[in-house]
Symmetry: C2
Subunit: 451 residues, 2 copies
Amino acid sequence: MNYAAYFAGNREKHLAELKEWLAIPSISALSEHKEDVNRAAEWLVQTLERAGLENIKIHPTAGHPIVYADYLHAPGKPTILVYGHYDVQPVDPLHLWQSPPFEPEIRDNKLYARGATDDKGQLFLHLKAIEAILSQEQSLPVNIKVCIEGEEEISSANLHHFLGANRELLAADAVLISDTELLGPGRPSICTGLRGLCSLDISLRTANTDLHSGTYGGGVPNALHAMAELLASLHDKQGRVTVAGFYDDVPDLTAEMRAELARKGTDEEALRQRLGLSALFGEDGYTYVEQTGARPTLEINGMYGGFQGEGTKTVIPCEAHAKITCRLVGKQDPQDILDKITRHIENHAPVGAQVSVVQREKGNPFTIDTSLPILQKAANAYERIYGVRPVFTKDGGSIPIVEALSRELSADVVLMGFGLPTENLHAPNEHFHLENFDKGLLTIVEFLQTI
Amino acid sequence: MNYAAYFAGNREKHLAELKEWLAIPSISALSEHKEDVNRAAEWLVQTLERAGLENIKIHPTAGHPIVYADYLHAPGKPTILVYGHYDVQPVDPLHLWQSPPFEPEIRDNKLYARGATDDKGQLFLHLKAIEAILSQEQSLPVNIKVCIEGEEEISSANLHHFLGANRELLAADAVLISDTELLGPGRPSICTGLRGLCSLDISLRTANTDLHSGTYGGGVPNALHAMAELLASLHDKQGRVTVAGFYDDVPDLTAEMRAELARKGTDEEALRQRLGLSALFGEDGYTYVEQTGARPTLEINGMYGGFQGEGTKTVIPCEAHAKITCRLVGKQDPQDILDKITRHIENHAPVGAQVSVVQREKGNPFTIDTSLPILQKAANAYERIYGVRPVFTKDGGSIPIVEALSRELSADVVLMGFGLPTENLHAPNEHFHLENFDKGLLTIVEFLQTI
């Protein structure tokens, strides 16, 4: 069967379909987009039907729905659970987008839209690969289950519950996920590690109202000074997190681990230039690849308080807010880390400031053994389509559900990513390079046929 | 002439007029309110006409207009220039207002609205005092000029130009201003010192785009960490500003000055409780009255960057912003202080962060000698209406134009305030206690008749 010709012939139709999906602003974090998130799930139902899948069902949850489908007609063959997500990140700052985030546009063989690479675009490859095989061969070489959620960007809370309650429905030999990256154009990789995640919000209050900076200035605490001091206390000048016990469960990097990570071959100077940075900055004593793949982080994602308008407002603000996420590695436990940060914040509250913390998301770190047969088969499929063998890497990102899927289903996890590191996911001008759209379809077909 | 009866008989009418003016959202800092600022100026024209003033004119400027009027029919008598402003502060955070800021409402003998006390409400007293005397006596005991600007809350840049170009038009023996406070209910004061002001905006940039906190987290600078560190570097733990040379031109407090300031009799514990603070906080080694009256400050008025929405966004922000104002005393020069802060910010830019500074407003500190006859006459007028002699105080606020009026016109300045320290100026729920509306009218009439 000539799948290259098949996909070439259907390319325009497939891209038009994907654009339709990308036009739905399914931002899971913002409650005003709840209906859009639902529409993105409903859009999937038709697409799964068109692919030929069976038992399609939208499972409502306490949050956004989970879409399930399967095709279980390959007795004796392994069962592969395809997982992905149809929700997307928020889009601000909107003014930095060159084309509107929900008006998909192809420029220079790249498809621009929020969700283009994370994860609608990548997930779409699986749906079209399955549709291709079924339409061309009227059967699939393996048993397929599909489970697509709408809360990956807000930590998959309801999929965690669903997974616990539906182990049999989702039971599989392996989970197949495309939500990670190539190393660069033509340089495939298979991710064998993901950092865990936890998040929290800090609020801080001083007086019971904003105060005039002339009348009161100099004699009362300022919530913004207090927040700046508190946030600055979370790292030292060497980029190390200063929260007591933060590194307790982080494994030391052996020479062997450092060598494996170095094979990724990151050009730090080229990276610095591409990002427009005057300097890279991270924890002293580690390379960039180690800092982002094998070391934990604590990042402020948002910080705000006081007057943000034009001009000047001579006010002493009484409230300040910050949002923080951590990436975790090794045996770090998200709840333990959240508790340690909460203690730090309480212990470092500046004079006159009352702090409060809301603990939010939690996801464990994940790793998988590179010698497993299914990982080697995935590597073979990449090699056949891309012409080079993929590198096994550790990704700095988090897909908290990956560790849960692996643990709850006792399944291997194949992280077969087709994004590029330059595709601005979670940022303005997110896009998906269509070279990997085309090669991704063929790689997935190849993989499914050779498991 | 029984002015108490006159004002009692006209009270409802006067309050209705004032409410009409307060309903105009003349926020000078926000360009979308430019038309409202104009409307507030035009409203004044009718009111000045009704008062019986002459030569009423709206003088356009490069910014918001200046309203002038006079009544010069008392040869041989002093000329008094009444100064005030018809612009108001922004209103955010709007959700903390109990009634909308531009829908004036009287509750418990207090008039709630943005501008109620700062400065429309206080300025209005002069217009009605003049109207009262003219209507009752068909003449004024002094020559009166009125100069009302629309840019006091954004540093009076165009009034400074206007003043330089119109020294003759504005020439006066004394300037009379009501834009300051009583010490408390029934405790009048005359302000004999105002702090100077300067302001600047800081922007900070790291990468050329926001970055995914998983992919890049740990290896690149975060604009919010950098801003928190930079802002935290501006003070030490003892509340002292750490900018090199910041205190160079601040006079040491003598035992005499400390004794004079202490006469204000501030109850620090009551103040702390009223503001809902767990603790007051200021520069070590000074009392609250000294900190707010005789020491300079550096306050962050706004700070923002990254995600401010609901939920979590796993992003490394590439931009952060802060707004800063300083209050100055003694011989501190606003431009010198702005330059010193700018140097500090440039010298303390964290690794990987590019900082930029926009210098904004500048106003000199002001002081006046308490033994001047006109100040003693103002004290007499207060004493006759309030029954107690006012205290001479130093106010922590800034009316940068006061020092300029005094210097350019070689005029004394009488700061005859009728606000209360609890009236939330520059904050939600600004209001004006009507006890001082009533007594203020009588005090001004008394003062004008006895100069």
